[in-house]
């Protein structure tokens, strides 16, 4: 089942053991002009875990993901990725170092087919140079075929064979989300960031997506950080939960502990400040 990720071929992976710190965020603050999106947040993500980031709307969850994969550069604080401290990272550097992500409102290449969308995820793994690619022959062609095979395995894994050649703009929302996950998986990431993977889905689609996320985590050992509003899903899937509210961290710990935390309950029920 997990034929498409051979451990030896996980190029660029850190080789950290399960449970070691893969990513740590220290005292990160981010503001846009005068608006503080994130204030002094610290937490860590351990290798192999499913880490949930929750909080009411506008709490700074998506901003946090954007800081992690380099879309935003925090004014203060540091990010430690595989033991290396960095202030800012460019998105394509983050991608080449094993961080993949999906987006809250689906960022797919709408004019392209499912297959081509997923193939873009293999881009970093394809190394034959410009010259060979122009010829589309010899080594470049072999490489193309080899990566195409990997992509077919991912397509099988996520059960999207039927929409292989469909332009993704025409797909229903639930399937678009799944294609986006497929594209992220094609990168064989060490850390997978999922921004509301189940938003707008019906119960059945949510169950499918939950199953895929758990499979990815358990079979391939991919570390996952996800933002989700559905508390049932969060409690079922995640090993640890960090709770944000108004850009600050208000709780951090295992799901059951967070669930009974008074600050968290207040934040969600809206106690007057």
């Amino acid at each position: 089942m997990n034929a498409f990720v051979d451990p030896a071929g996980m190029a660029g992976h850190s080789g950290l053991a399960k449970g070691e710190v893969l990513l740590r965020v220290d005292n990160v603050s981010l503001s846009f002009g005068g608006v503080k999106a994130i204030t002094n947040i610290s937490f860590d993500i351990l290798k192999g875990e499913v880490r949930a980031i929750i909080g009411p709307n506008g709490a700074g969850k998506t901003s946090m993901l954007n800081v992690i994969n380099g879309f935003y550069h925090p004014q203060e604080g540091t990010i430690t990725w595989r033991g290396q401290v960095r202030r800012k990272m460019k998105p394509y550097e983050a991608a080449s170092q094993g961080i993949a992500r999906t987006f809250q409102n689906v960022a797919l290449f709408k004019g392209m087919t499912t297959l081509d969308n997923i193939m873009t995820g293999r881009g970093l793994k394809m190394t034959k140079n410009f010259f060979w690619q122009c010829l589309h022959w010899g080594p470049a062609l072999n490489e193309e075929i080899e990566h195409r095979r990997k992509v077919e395995e991912i397509i099988d894994f996520l059960e999207i064979q039927a929409i292989r050649k469909t332009p993704v703009g025409r797909l229903p929302y639930g399937l678009q989300k799944r294609v986006e996950l497929a594209r992220a998986l094609a990168m064989e990431p060490e850390l997978l960031l999922l921004d509301e993977p189940m938003a707008g889905m019906n119960l059945e689609e949510k169950e499918d997506m939950s199953r895929f996320i758990l499979d990815v985590n358990q079979q391939f050992g991919t570390t996952i950080a996800l933002i989700e509003h559905d508390m049932g899903v969060v409690m079922d899937l995640s090993d640890r939960v960090v709770v944000l509210d108004y850009g600050r961290k208000i709780a951090d710990g295992p799901p059951e502990e967070v669930q009974s935390n008074q600050d968290v309950i207040d934040a969600y029920l809206g106690v007057p400040h």
Partner: protein
């Protein structure tokens, strides 16, 4: 009644009466169409990869042609001048990416369009400073391009004359189109180009470097511009007037679709042949000179029925 006769019957009678002349007219139109198509190709490349309508494509054609001829005038051998001209287009591409595109990432398309208009006037000025304003002769034979012509006898019906340079232009255009089509659809960089055109954020998240992709696509457009400059230059002169001719590519793009490489070619041929045939056989009815606007009328009619062009991507999106 005479009017109807002149529109509906007489032109066809003329065509049947002198088939050699008709073939000659169609051939001339075909060649013009190939040249329009080459220019349109440059537009399509940039549009596909960045969603920008590159107003500067015309001046890039002139600039490329002038660089080639200018270097040769300075005593550089033709083959070396060609290589250097390609190098100049590469430098231009990198500069455009670094100084124009990069600071404008994420801005609305109209801003990028305005930037390309600005670039056009900058390049006109720069070209005049470096190469002077007067028209130059293209170094056709020095580049090894054929210059002769062949006359085909059509039995007793007369003869058709084909210029070899025109045949060369058609072959070169065909090769470029074939190559680009494979490049865009089948290779990693081609896919990355389309991905960037579609969604910048998503492209970044899968590890595509926007800067690199844009430099590549402007370079590709530069190469196409150089080929166009050589072919246009061989038929007339290399002068800044070509920049205006380049806008003839607009109806071609409307017809073929802004995103389609084969569309640029088919559109170019329809416009080229359509305007020549229209001018010769129907132009007289309104006093001639319809060649300059017929293309736009054809394009408008197509717009009514296929707003996305003949081959453009019809994006059906769920909303």
């Amino acid at each position: 009644m005479d009017m109807l006769y002149n529109i509906l019957i007489d032109p066809f009678a003329q065509m049947a009466g002198a088939p050699d002349f008709l073939i000659q007219v169609i051939w001339e139109g075909f060649v013009a169409g190939v040249l329009y198509a080459l220019i349109a190709l440059g537009f399509v490349l940039i549009y596909k990869a960045s969603g920008v309508f590159n107003f500067a494509q015309g001046i890039m054609v002139v600039f490329a042609g002038l660089s080639l001829v200018g270097l040769h005038e300075k005593g550089v051998p033709a083959w070396l001048a060609l290589i250097l001209a390609i190098g100049i287009m590469a430098i231009l591409a990198v500069c455009i990416e670094k100084f124009v595109m990069r600071p404008l990432v994420g801005q609305p398309d109209i801003i990028l369009l305005m930037a390309t208009i600005g670039m056009t006037y900058f390049l006109i000025g720069l070209g005049e400073v470096i190469f002077g304003g007067e028209p130059k002769q293209m170094i056709t034979s020095e580049l090894g391009l054929p210059t002769g012509s062949t006359a085909f006898e059509m039995g007793e019906r007369g003869l058709v004359i084909l210029q070899h340079i025109d045949i060369a232009a058609a072959v070169i255009a065909l090769l470029m189109v074939g190559g680009l089509a494979v490049f865009f659809n089948r290779t990693r960089i081609g896919r990355a180009l389309r991905a960037v055109a579609d969604d910048h954020t998503a492209a970044l998240s899968v590890g595509i470097s926007l800067n690199q992709i844009w430099a590549i696509v402007w370079f590709a457009a530069g190469i196409v511009a150089l080929a166009t400059g050589i072919m246009w230059g061989a038929r007339s002169d290399v002068s800044f007037a070509l920049e205006i001719v380049a806008l003839k590519a607009l109806p071609v793009l409307i017809l073929g679709g802004f995103t389609s490489i084969p569309g640029a070619i088919i559109g170019g041929l329809i416009i080229g042949i359509g305007e020549k045939v229209g001018e010769i056989y129907w132009g007289g009815l309104v006093g001639g000179g319809i060649e300059s606007w017929l293309a736009y009328v054809i394009a408008l009619i197509f717009l009514l029925f296929r707003p996305q062009g003949l081959f453009g991507e019809k994006i059906i999106e769920r909303i």
